[in-house]
Symmetry: C2
Subunit: 469 residues, 2 copies
């Protein structure tokens, strides 16, 4: 496509800024408009997703854009989950049995800042902050913005518009309301919301609990999690129903009930969150929604990417990774030499949508896994066997979690399909006592388990195929 065209990117979040950087590297002229202030100057994160999990799919995209090492420098590796029971006892469960496979806690703002700074180094990129998009004319590729300071509206006329404006995308909304084409669209909320709290650093600046883990306090109907920050603090998130159960966001309205709830359910965490009452009342309660839609593009004119096209719940730690992978996939399509933006956009969605649909579903599955299953004996036996298999047969066994998180060459949809069949096979083999669950298996014993899982997995996949005709 003609590189003299004016490309407009709406939204300079993680996806928009990486896309701007990559398009600039490819020689395109890019203008980026962002509704919020420049987060390198102003702290705008209060109470909302301060840190995120970065893993292999995200790194692949960052590598493509030449910023992997800068990102790695601000990562805190998390090698596994550390579960906390009501008595404060803990047990660990690794994310992988292989060496060098772990996820990383990273500050959303710091990573976004790296991407903005790198993008701005390119002469063909301009980034404008405090310009809120209020309308997009997709027929004429004209976007209307409101300036935060002056409150004046102005329009920007582009040749192509990319909507990387997040879960509440204005571009997506115009697809829905303009009715120029049949627009399949879904927004689905979980029954639970979330609230962010903080475990501050110790007086000497150290982390007060293990910084090598993602901490989970699984309680069946709800949970608390904590991810480490570089400054020694942890960002803690409570996931709780709005309406249901003895304790919920609707009835946790007094300092007394909040304290009673935490004392009963999360006493060890409570002891580490000094400002819990203020934070509970001052921080917003966030909603947990999944957005899917199609088509993502309109003619040669516009394309949705990242959360704007496929917002997911945070429980697989894949939201940012999936958005970054969008950029990788889009870049591959650009390499293909298609002759129009329309062809590029359609090829992108065709290649990508099944995978973003899959990670959306997997993320909801993981909500139930994290708050509930991780404490289930059958699930624990399964994870123990999987870790032993990955350690003993590192080239032959990949858990669903490993396929999703550490195997960026497998698409999410394939990882979901094989991973779910494999989980079903292994759980049923354990339940039927058809495999050994002894704590110390020999390599030979493990090989028998591996063969049985593979045979059962193939059978499950084959039976599903026949049932689908």
């Amino acid at each position: 496509m003609n590189k003299e065209q004016n490309i407009l990117i709406i939204g300079a979040g993680l996806c928009g800024s990486l896309l701007a950087l990559r398009l600039a590297q490819r020689g395109y002229k890019v203008a980026v408009y962002e509704s919020r202030p420049d987060l390198r100057i102003t702290d705008i994160s209060a109470g909302r997703s301060i840190n995120l999990a970065l893993s292999d799919r995200g790194f692949k995209a960052l590598r493509l854009a030449g910023v992997e090492e800068q990102a790695k420098a601000i990562c805190i590796p998390m090698y596994g989950r550390l579960m906390h029971d009501k008595q404060g006892a803990t047990f660990a469960s690794n994310y992988s049995g292989r060496e060098g496979e772990y996820i990383n806690s990273i500050s959303r703002g710091d990573l976004n800042g790296i991407l903005l700074t790198e993008a701005e180094k390119h002469q063909n990129v301009s980034i404008y902050f405090n310009k809120k998009c209020v309308d997009i004319d997709i027929e004429n590729t004209v976007a209307t913005f409101e300036d935060y300071t002056s409150k004046q509206e102005f329009t920007v006329n582009a040749d192509v518009i990319f909507g990387t404006d997040g879960a509440g995308s204005v571009l997506r909304k115009s697809y829905y309301l303009d009715r120029k084409f049949l627009f399949s669209y879904s927004q689905n909320y979980l029954s639970h919301g979330y609230k962010e709290l903080e475990i501050p650093a110790a007086a000497n600046g150290a982390h007060q609990i293990s910084k090598d883990h993602l901490h989970i306090w699984p309680r069946g109907d709800y949970m608390l999690i904590a991810l480490p920050n570089l400054d020694g603090s942890f960002t803690v998130t409570l996931f709780l129903s709005y309406d249901d159960g003895e304790y919920n966001f609707n009835n946790l309205t007094s300092k007394e009930t909040i304290t009673r709830f935490f004392e009963k359910e999360f006493p060890d965490a409570l002891a580490l969150i000094p400002n819990i009452k203020d934070e509970f009342f001052n921080n917003p309660t966030g909603a947990l929604g999944t957005v899917k839609c199609s088509p993502w593009s309109y003619q040669n004119n516009t394309l949705l990417m990242g959360d704007a096209a496929h917002a997911i719940v945070p429980f697989y730690g894949q939201g940012m990774n999936a958005s970054f992978e969008d950029v990788t996939v889009f870049d591959e399509i650009l390499d293909g030499g298609l002759e129009s933006w329309e062809a590029v956009f359609k090829a992108f969605e065709k290649l990508r949508k099944q995978d973003t649909d899959a990670i959306a579903d997997l993320a909801i599955d993981n909500f139930h896994e994290m708050k509930d299953h991780v404490a289930n004996p059958l699930f624990k036996q399964k994870r123990k066997i999987e870790m032993d298999l990955e350690k003993t047969f590192p080239s032959d066994y990949f858990s669903k979690y490993s396929m999703v998180t550490f195997n960026e060459e497998i698409g999410y949809e394939q990882a979901m399909k094989i991973g779910r069949a494999q989980d079903k096979a292994l759980l049923n083999l354990i339940a039927d006592e058809a495999v050994s669950t002894s704590l110390e298996m020999t390599k030979e014993e493990l090989k028998i388990v591996l063969d049985k899982i593979q045979q059962e997995t193939n059978e499950i996949l084959n039976e599903d195929k026949i049932a689908g005709l």
Copy 2:
């Protein structure tokens, strides 16, 4: 609830008119506003879903309202599918192996007329036509209408508002746009649209093809179907992709290509559709969408019912039946003596939503079954065995189709869950040659098949349960 309250129903279609009738029978004061003219006076059906399939769930609701016999008088029984191949050869496949189980072709307009007339017999019901709802204030239960003739707007103040205003519901749209609560919402379109055509009656008024069947011309990627009308005609519907394949709605733009397409794919049907070219160009191309949402209600004020809450694609012949069943279920909840509309509305959704979600998914499955699987040898063997089992063991075997269509005491969700497992069991038993598929099995041989299916089905359900922890 207080029967002096003013109940406002938006939409006098099939669901709204049955609801009005039933609420009137229970003593409520009901006003119904409908955007279209009175269909008993004006023909407004041109080219859109003239006839529908009525079956047991629908009859149960009509019985409750005392209008079952009136409906039966205008029904045409369809005992099975009649498949037409490209050479015009046909083969039949019954809907059930039991006596007296069949579906019925019925005119949407005639049935709607019966319900309107019955409702209007009640002094406590008023029905207003040509009043288009343009806005609903869900906080104050005030609806704004535009009069079709005068174009004047006016408002109606009610105590409770029921939105039975179909797939494009204004009430549902106000839930989405008002953002008073987290509203989960999806609209999903199939890649295919539909076009209605007509096989007229013979000169002597007779049906030109069997009126005892639902006719299908399955062609894998697309299909034609036909349902009989009382006047000897058939309503024919072409289901075809908008964009994909050699022939699609986007490229069937000349009389020549339409003729070539039908000559090649549906020669026997073409010979019976004299006005195909005019109808193809003059009738609209309809979209096929599924709508799911939650919550259906707002406080004590408003409730969505029927297509407004859960629009589905037509391939299971259950759209009208599901909407009528809404009225049955709602009536049962009213019998429960709950103390507020809010409690009634919440109980209704809690009992009902999983079932309407299920029929939506089943209806999409049946799209693929009708256009493709019905011509698949494995599928044909399966249906043959199922018919033999239902005939020989009428109290012990129920196909998925029978559970959905003829067993109104089983919810859709249960029918889907058991039916899918049973289909998977039977298809795999046939594929593995683990059951006899000989055309004439003895009762003893069939009993062996039945036992194997039941055992496999239970195993599948149990394995799924373990996999879900």
